[in-house]
């Protein structure tokens, strides 16, 4: 599975692959495939257009006068289709053709077909009124597609745009790996800088670099022409110079062993910690708010990771523990709590919260844990809803305020030193960071203990685990409780941060989002889970929390879904997978690799056999 970028000259792997056949003639296309892909692209285009994303995101500029985020969403599909059209299936013994005009032509055709979807839509928009079932069947969309001109213009222009973008996608195949890398980096840098504008501006303000952002961004959002060019140039240079360095470094670290490895890891961890501690000082309110939200979800995801990733219990009602944590912290600290209001200091309350949530974990877990697989998932789903409905119910509204919730929750006081509340996101972030550190430590230690091994065994094969002397009920229950307690930390901080708790903050959606974060990031992998939260919650936003792309919030779930599907197809082990998880999903390949290594009789110096990256 090692993706290699064979250099054009003096290829290291001297196989048949280097004997490239000449490129194919332009018209010798696999037309059926092109048409099929183009049609899929066209449908996707129509779907995206009718999802209203282009119209809503049109206000946000990417590169000031020429490209808005809305149009960008319409360019992605023809680009992808064009690029995909140039994909060659490589098999041993089959000739590999050099990419050339054939690929560009294929990409053009495919892109034109995809763009044609929008042409078709433009015609339909002009002649039919389907506003009744399709809410976004609007004149605005028609105007957007026609650039303010007549319908025929839209028809022609989208065919042309599709063809052009598809050609670019196909042309990317023609470029050498080095150039392609640079081009992709350049495009991503410009787009990224534009999309992350609020974050960049916020950080720049904190670091007193307003001049830079004033120069870079146009007044009303979007990167300037000049800014875009400079960014592209700089990132292109960086991409060329830094080519392969990162991977080399990573491989180097991977080959380290023993004390050296530990030291490197420790160094990396300390560095990350230092960045995370220092960064908020320079960041504005927006960034800190964002970081705090991400942190809350990291906490939740780490908790769920223990349950799902380590012990393999698919818990679809994890929000229950978040809710119990929030509510119990609220009841214990707020003076306005309806029935009992001990007004405990936050830290004292936290101890009680942990005990309560632990007990609830036991209480819910005990019946649930005896089931397996699908049944277990469904039952947890039920419990998640039950807990929310209990808080919502009139029956207990005397205790928890029913749908009014509990408001005016004081912030979290830490030893009388500071008080943490939503008004100061920086402090919230530091508090969250501290608890994340605890959660990371807990997951890390437990995974490498007798208990962690037992979890793994249960995940692998419960029957055998039991036959090998593991009390599976106890072990699973403990995973449930550990997960519950970690979730309750997040809940307690959440209630202090927001200052109020309502039952509708704990919808089933929260459970699903956390689960998606864990799956997306990589089940069982601590780093993966953190990365997953950063990407999904930080960039797209949580169930209620806005992310960096506040404009996308309406389409958040759509994008979540698309990302998840793509992830499951392309990289089912997640963003940053745990070793074990990728083993599971790539058993056959790895078994083959091991077998091949065994052939070489290279008993314990496996690392040395690796082909050094060609220089």
């Amino acid at each position: 599975m090692t993706a290699t970028f064979p250099p054009e000259t003096g290829a290291a792997d001297g196989s048949a692959e280097t004997l490239m056949a000449p490129s194919r003639p332009v018209l010798a296309q696999d037309w059926r495939r092109l048409v099929r892909m183009g049609a899929v692209g066209a449908v996707a285009q129509i779907f995206i257009a009718l999802s209203n994303m282009p119209v809503r995101l049109d206000e946000r500029a990417v590169v000031k006068p020429i490209l808005s985020l809305g149009y960008l969403t319409l360019l992605i599909v023809p680009f992808a289709a064009g690029n995909r059209a140039g994909h060659q299936i490589k098999r041993e013994g089959m000739p590999v053709y050099a990419a050339g005009t054939h690929e560009v032509a294929g990409g053009t055709a495919c892109g034109a077909l995809a763009g044609g979807g929008l042409s078709l839509l433009a015609v339909l928009l002009a002649n039919f009124d389907l506003r009744e079932p399709l809410v976004n069947w609007s004149p605005m969309l028609a105007e957007l597609l026609a650039f303010g001109n007549a319908t025929w213009f839209a028809v022609v222009v989208w065919l042309l745009i599709g063809a052009a973008v598809g050609a670019v996608g196909g042309a990317l195949r023609v470029l050498g790996p080095r150039t392609r890398r640079a081009v992709v980096t350049m495009a991503l840098t410009v787009a990224g800088t534009a999309v992350l504008e609020p974050l960049v501006v916020d950080l720049a303000e904190g670091m007193r670099l307003e001049a830079l952002t004033d120069w870079l961004y146009a007044r009303r959002g979007g990167v300037n022409w000049t800014g875009a060019l400079v960014l592209a140039a700089v990132s292109g240079v960086v991409a060329v110079v830094g080519r392969g360095r990162v991977r080399q470094a990573r491989e180097h670290i991977a080959t380290l062993e023993g004390a050296k490895r530990t030291r490197t890891n420790l160094g990396l961890i300390l560095l990350t910690a230092a960045v995370l501690v220092i960064l908020p000082l320079f960041a504005g309110k927006l960034t800190n708010e964002l970081l705090a939200n991400v942190g809350l979800f990291v906490l939740l995801a780490l908790g769920l990771n223990v349950v799902v990733g380590l012990a393999g219990i698919l818990d679809l009602g994890y929000v229950a523990f978040f809710a119990v944590g929030s509510y119990s912290a609220a009841v214990l600290t707020a003076a306005t709590s309806p029935r009992i209001n001990p007004e405990m200091p936050w830290l004292v309350a936290l101890i009680v919260v942990v005990i309560i949530t632990g007990l609830v974990g036991l209480f819910i877990g005990a019946p649930v844990i005896r089931m397996r697989g699908d049944y277990l998932a469904i039952v947890t789903l039920g419990f998640g809803e039950i807990i929310r409905l209990i808080f919502l119910s009139d029956w207990l509204s005397g205790w928890f305020g029913g749908s009014q919730g509990i408001t005016k929750i004081p912030g979290a006081g830490i030893f009388g030193l500071t008080s943490v509340a939503g008004t100061d996101p920086r402090r919230v972030f530091y508090l969250v960071l501290a608890f994340c550190a605890i959660a990371i430590y807990v997951s890390w230690r437990l995974e490498r203990s007798r208990l962690g091994r037992a979890w793994m065994a249960v995940r692998e094969d419960e029957t055998v685990a039991e036959a090998m002397g593991i009390n599976t009920v106890n072990v699973k229950l403990l995973a449930f409780v550990v997960g519950a307690v970690l979730g309750s930390f997040s809940g307690a901080i959440f209630s202090a941060k927001v200052g109020s708790v309502f039952p509708n903050s704990f919808l089933i959606l929260v459970s699903i989002v956390i689960l998606v974060v864990v799956i997306f990031g990589g089940m069982g992998s601590i780093v993966g889970v953190i990365a997953g939260s950063a990407v999904l919650i930080g960039v797209l936003g949580g169930p209620k929390q806005p992310g960096l792309l506040a404009e996308f919030s309406e389409f958040k779930l759509l994008i979540y879904g698309a990302l998840l599907i793509w992830m499951m197809l392309a990289r089912p082990e997640g963003l940053i997978p745990s070793v074990r998880r990728s083993r599971e999903l790539h058993q056959q390949e790895m078994a083959q690799d091991a077998w091949l290594r065994g052939e070489v009789e290279d008993d314990d110096s496996n690392g040395g056999g690796q082909a050094a990256p060609a220089t």
């Binding site: 007798r450 091994r453 094969d461 036959a467 090998m468 002397g469 091991a594 314990d604």
Partner: protein
Amino acid sequence: MTTANGTARPGEDMATDEAEHPGENMANGTEHPGDDTAANGTECRPLLETRKLSVDFGGLHALDGLDFVVHEGEIVSVIGPNGAGKTTLFNAITATVELSAGDILFEGASLLGLDPNRVTTRGIARTFQNVRLFANMTVLENVMVSQHCRTHQHAFGALFYTPAFRREEAEIRERAEKVLSFFGSRLVGYRFDQPAFTLSYANRRRLEIARAMATQPKLILLDEPVAGMNPVESAELTGMIGRLRDEWGFAIVVIEHDMEVVREVSDRVVVLDHGVKIAEGDYADVSNDPRVIEAYLGQGAAAS
């Protein structure tokens, strides 16, 4: 079939082997009561005893009033045609199926109503007919995790990295390595950190036995340990089964179809058919028993 000219090696040979290494049990540190004189004859108490054991699946009597005894330090083979109830016997002993009637005594105490993990804790370990390793765990982890019931460190020790925790982790690892080294160089060294699914079929079988050994049992139940192995591997493992008893002091029950192995290894052979014991005794007796031949080859063969 090898049963025809059974040049059986009597079980006493094994017993004298055992007598030659009386100290081995202790030296290996496996906790066994020192009072037993192993398979030295009839006076020793039964380690495992089933009384009128019955297991029904609906109307099918998988086991029907079976009396089955294993003494300490004994190697018993259970044979019988397919569907005779051999694996069901193992499942019943390890509490993975429910008994319809009867009782199972281990060291004089009943195993009834215990969960499978408690049975293992009492000192019975098993392997599976269709190898069931923790495929994605490493070789070493497979053997480490099966020491679960003999170790005690819980979340607290792990979280605070207490000296007791570190000591126990080191012990677990050491014991795991020792168990794996029983199989020579096959499962040691770089293999320690390889996921179990990369192992060859024979090695998987070996690892499964290692995993059973690591639970520190008194009795090991091996379900077709040489199935799918080539003759050389099979012969090697046969020797190992003997060593398991002689060096580690386990009592062993083997289900096996390979009569060569059965002949080599067993002190006593029990033949099941349709959940009923149809013969019992040493290999020579059993292999000439007309009822056994009938069960295997049908009535005509027995008559001729």
